[in-house]
Each structure stands twice: as structure tokens, then as C-alpha cells.
């Protein structure tokens, strides 16, 4: 799984991303750093507005035109992504790092057949001719579990079901054997049974294609299913980062703990689900200190005034909180209560 001796495939350091809006400049991502190692699945977890998608899009500079990377360093293999020319960047996009998106209906172009859209990538990156590309596209569609690929290849996105569309999207993303697949909430828009199938498919394909996955989600259930490591984001910052077992067994940030308590569990007899009070504040007016302070059970004056640093509290486990001790006591009490 995690092997720190290996060189990371992707290294993001101190990433700051800003957006210009009519109301002012939004600091969507503030100093995010992470590494992605070959073959692993890294989950980026957070609510909408936490900056998780923007972080992922930044790795191939796919921000909307009103957004820009203010500061930071992104290293993919030996490339400094932020200093690449547009042409060099295009050789990475779709070939080395490819993406699948949340809404398979809107992410596929409605006026081209799915075949056309897959073949386009193959012709672009692998210099295939039309016939080779078509054969390969049919293979890919079969691989992602689309029945009758010879017929489906000439269909338009609207003729496929949601699950099939997402499979087609995956086939398109994997067409050039990428080393990194960025999956931005790929199952959120799908039915629960289809979700499970797509996750299973992604795991199988990860083994076959030997790629790393960045899995963006707000769903901790999916994280447990898929990821080796997770970073939890809130307000454009990483609030906790650790391997998946640590995150679930020993959460050390009130936000992570709050997220866990929002997952219903059948093995525990809970009267009601605890949820985090309030909503993510408008990014234009986050609290001055800890961004989570206005929703946090443990927050005091210090939290409101001063933002804690992301500290390594044990090996490879990072947390950004002033009151880990108090939180631990509370967690202990809850556990006692359960007994």
C-alpha cells in the first residue's frame, strides 16, 4: 500500500487557488499539500465548497477562466506542471492524468457518439488510425462492462443509462493508459446499486491498468471502500490526513469525527444521527482563526482568533486542531456510554 521509499508520482506543495467573482476574490484553496504514490488510491474528502474539486482540477490546470493558481508547486513525475507550456500540458492531460466527473450525462458531449469521443482521445495521444482506434474503443467498452460494445459504440450519450454513461466515461478516461485517474464524485449521481458496481469496476481496472486514483468524495462510506489514504478538507485547507484505517479508527479532528458520526451504521443502535451543525460558511467570510470554529463543539476563543497549523501528531497522521485532547476525552466518554 503506502510505501514512502518510492518516489511520489504527483506532489502538490502549498497550493493556493483563487477565484475572481463579482463579490470579491475567493480563496478556494489555501496551502494544500499532498503526495500521490504509484498504485495507491488517495481520497480527498470534504463537503461541497471545501476546495476538494478545485485542488484536483489544479493538478492539470483545468480551472475555470476566473480561477488561477496563486502560489504553490505541482510536480508530476519530472514535470513542474505550473511551468509547462500549454502544448506540453496537453500531452499530460488525458494521457498521463485523466479525469472522470460527477454527472455522466453532462460530462459527455451530447452531439457526438460515445465512440467518437473515445476514438478522439486515441487518435490524439496514441497516433492510432481510425480503424485501430475503433477496435481499441470497442475493447475498452467491453472492458468497462458495456454489453454489445459493437452496437453501443455508435450510440449517443442520451441513449445510455446513467451507469452505462459513467462506464463509457471511464473507458474514455482509461483509453490512453493513464498513470493517474482523478475521479470527481463519480458515483454521486448514480443509484446505490449502480454505485457499488462502478466502484467495483474502478477497483478492478486500477489493478489491471496499475494506476493511482485520486478519489474526490463527500461520502465516507465510499472512502472506506476505495481508498488507501485520505485527506480531509475544510474551507480550502487540509484539516486531517492519514491512512484509511487511522482515519476511521482514530480520527483526530472534530470535523472528521463529525463526518463519521453522520454515517448511519447498522451495527450500532443509535437513536439519531449526529450531524455537524450549520453549513459551510461562504468562502468570502470564513472565521478568522480556525475555519471550522463556528461549527465546532470544542471551539473556544483561541480557535476563533488563531488558525492552528497542520501538525504531524503521530507518524504519517496530520491534524489541524488546538483541542485534540479535549476531543479525545469526549470520544472516550461517548465510547463508555455505548457500553
Amino acid at each position: 500500500m503506502l510505501n514512502n521509499n518510492e518516489k511520489p508520482l504527483l506532489k502538490v506543495e502549498n497550493l493556493h487557488v483563487h477565484f475572481k467573482t463579482e463579490d470579491g476574490i475567493i480563496k478556494a484553496v489555501n496551502g494544500v499539500s499532498f503526495e500521490l504514490y504509484p498504485g495507491e488510491t488517495l481520497a480527498i474528502v470534504g463537503e461541497s465548497g471545501s476546495g476538494k474539486t478545485v485542488t484536483a482540477l489544479s493538478t492539470i490546470r483545468l480551472l475555470d477562466e476566473n480561477g488561477w493558481i496563486e502560489e504553490g508547486k505541482i510536480q508530476y513525475k519530472d514535470n513542474d506542471v505550473l511551468s509547462l507550456s500549454d502544448n506540453q500540458l496537453r500531452k499530460i492531460r488525458g494521457k498521463e492524468i485523466s479525469m472522470i466527473f460527477q454527472e455522466p450525462m453532462t460530462a459527455l458531449n451530447p452531439v457526438f457518439t460515445i465512440g467518437d469521443q473515445i476514438i478522439e482521445s486515441l487518435e490524439l495521444h496514441l497516433d492510432m488510425n481510425k480503424q485501430e482506434a475503433r477496435r481499441k474503443a470497442i475493447d475498452l467498452l467491453r472492458k468497462v462492462g458495456i454489453p454489445e460494445p459493437e452496437r453501443r459504440i455508435d450510440q449517443y450519450p442520451h441513449e445510455l443509462s446513467g451507469g452505462m454513461r459513467q462506464r463509457a466515461m471511464i473507458a474514455m478516461a482509461l483509453s490512453c493508459n493513464p498513470s493517474i485517474l482523478i475521479a470527481d464524485e463519480p458515483t454521486t449521481a448514480l443509484d446505490v446499486t449502480i454505485q457499488a458496481q462502478i466502484l467495483e469496476l474502478m477497483k478492478d481496472l486500477q489493478k489491471e491498468f496499475q494506476m493511482s486514483i485520486i478519489f474526490i468524495t463527500h461520502d465516507l462510506g465510499v472512502v472506506a471502500e476505495m481508498a488507501d489514504r485520505a485527506i480531509v478538507m475544510y474551507g480550502g485547507e487540509v484539516v486531517e490526513a492519514a491512512d484509511i484505517i487511522t482515519i476511521f479508527k482514530k480520527p483526530r479532528h472534530p470535523y472528521t469525527w463529525g463526518l463519521m458520526n453522520s454515517i448511519p451504521r447498522i451495527d450500532k443502535d443509535e437513536e439519531r444521527l449526529l450531524s455537524i451543525p450549520g453549513v459551510v460558511p461562504n468562502p468570502l467570510n470564513f472565521p478568522k482563526g480556525c475555519k471550522f470554529s463556528n461549527r465546532c463543539f470544542f471551539a473556544d476563543e483561541k480557535c476563533v482568533e488563531e488558525n492552528p497549523n497542520l501538525e504531524e501528531i503521530e507518524e504519517n497522521h496530520f491534524s489541524r486542531c488546538w483541542h485534540i485532547d479535549r476531543m479525545l476525552r469526549e470520544m472516550h466518554k461517548v465510547k463508555e456510554g455505548e457500553r
Binding site: 496537453r90 492531460r93 494521457k95 458531449n109 451530447p110 482521445s121 449517443y156
Partner: protein, 345 residues
Amino acid sequence: MTTYIIRRLLLLPLIILGVTLIVFSMSQLLGPLKLLSTYVDPNTYAKMSERDIQILMKQYGLTDPFPVRYGKWVKNLLKGDLGWSVVGKEPVLDALIHRFPYTIELALYALFPIIGVGIWLGVTAAVHHNSFIDQFIRIFALIGWSLPDFVWAILVLLIFYIGLGWFPPGNLSIWANQIVKSASFKNYTHLLTIDALLNGRIDIFWDALRHIIGPVIAISWLWWANLLRITRSSMLEVLRKDYVRTARSKGLPEKVVINKHARKNALIPVVTTAGQMVIGLLTGVVIVEMVFVRTGLGSFAATAAQQLDYASIMGVLLFTSLLLIIGNLIIDISYAIIDPRIRLG
């Protein structure tokens, strides 16, 4: 797709029947005496007595009940008899047939520059959203949109004919007109520029072209504004779509992203406007034809209206309605060609 077209074609006669009913009903609002003028030169009955006029009316069936008159009128329509055109001094149908080619020719020359430039400007404005280029194009559109066509047409005449002497009004110069009217000049298509080339008369071709450029400029600005505004807003909307981001995430060059993935989607609403424009060009560039003293459907309709030539007005109305119906059918079919969701839905 085929069933869709067949369904639309089956509806066609019904719609046309409706149109004839409306046109005929409207004409009946005129009162029987005015209607008589569509059959008989008003001078012939101007000095007749009331009784003689009544006899004359009876003779033409004007005293019959409405359904009977409508039935007769439709029967005549089917035979191609639309009445006598006072303005054209020939049967209405012949008058329409003789004038329509001039309108077609003007439309043909206006069509391509308008659509090409209009879409290009719209896409450019959207791609350079909020930049100087965008602002410039938007101001250009705003002026074209607000400038009344009779003002702009006169300005064109003023600048390019009176000022520069490049593009004169009319259809042809007098010398060229004489040649065209002569027996040795063969009318293959009735489109002046094309017939001139087919007759091997480059000089007449240039003369006809020179006469057509002014009106084209006069028509273009408004439609450029119209098309580019639709294209721009549609393109802006499409550029924000997820599939455009998907296309970029695949590593496609920006040119392909815009010209292939975005533009094909953005053009779907543009087809309607472009189609309406074609219909508009074919059915009545009335003011431009009047200002440039051109023969054509528009100037024919205007003259007929001025002289209360009811048969001609009804003829033009019927003819343009037909064009409109067929034009809309073509727009709908081209929708289906562009958008697979309509074609297969």
C-alpha cells in the same frame, strides 16, 4: 427521423388550408365593392350605376355566401388563378414568378456573408468574453440592432453611391438592361449574375454584382447583430458546460475544444435564427428593395399596398406564408440533423 419528416409532411396540407382560410377571410373584410376591383379595372365601373354594379358583382359571384366564395377561390387557386395584378399589369401568379428570382438572388448573396460573419463574430466574442474584442463586437451589434433599416439603407446609398460611386441602386445599368432584355440573352435561371456568366457576359455579371452589393450591406448589419448575439450567448452557455471541461481534460487543443465540441452544441439555437433570416430574406426585404429601387417581392408588395391592389397583396401574402411554412419545416429538419437527441428521441 423519416417518420418525423413524414408526420410533418402530412400536416402540411392542413396548415396550408388554414392559411388560405385566414387570407381569404381577411380579404373579405374589405367589402364587396373593393373586392370587385380584384376582378375588374376600377375605371370601368367608376361611372356605372348602382344597379349595373350589382349585376357586375353577381357576375363575379361576390354576392354569394362566404363558403361558396371561398370554395370558388380555392378552386381558382388550385388552377393557379390568383386574380389580376393591377400593379404588375399581368396575372398575380405571373407577377410573383417574374419578381421572385430578383429576391432570391439578393437573398443568396446576403446569406453567406451574414451567416459566416455573424457566427464568426459571435464565437469570437464568446471566446474572448469580456475582453476588448468582446466589447467592440457587442457595441457593433448594439448599433446594428438599434439602427432602423430605412436609415441604414439610405446611409449605405449615400456613402457607397452618392459618395463613392461604387454601388448604384436598381437591378442593372441601362446598357446592361437592354442587353438582358434582348432576344440574344438567354435566361437560364432568371438570376441575373448567373445568367450573365452562362451567357459569357462578364461585364453584365460585374454590373449586376455592383448593384447587389449595396442592398447586401444594407441588410447585413441587422442580421449580423441578430445572429452574433444569439451565437455569443449560446456559446457562452455551452463553454461553461461539463463536456467542454471533459474535452479539455482529454488534452484536446483549445481550437478543437471550441470549434468542435462547443460550437456544434452552440449552433443548435442559431439554426432557428438563421432559418428565420432566410425566410425573412425571401419573403420581404421591403424597405431595402424600395430604397435601392430594386425589382423583387418586397418592392412589389409595397407598391401593391400603396395602390390598394388587393389581388396582388393576397397573392404575396399567400406566397410568403407558403415559404414560411416550408422554411420552418426545413429548420425543424436541420435541427434533427444537428441534434441526435431530436433525431432519435
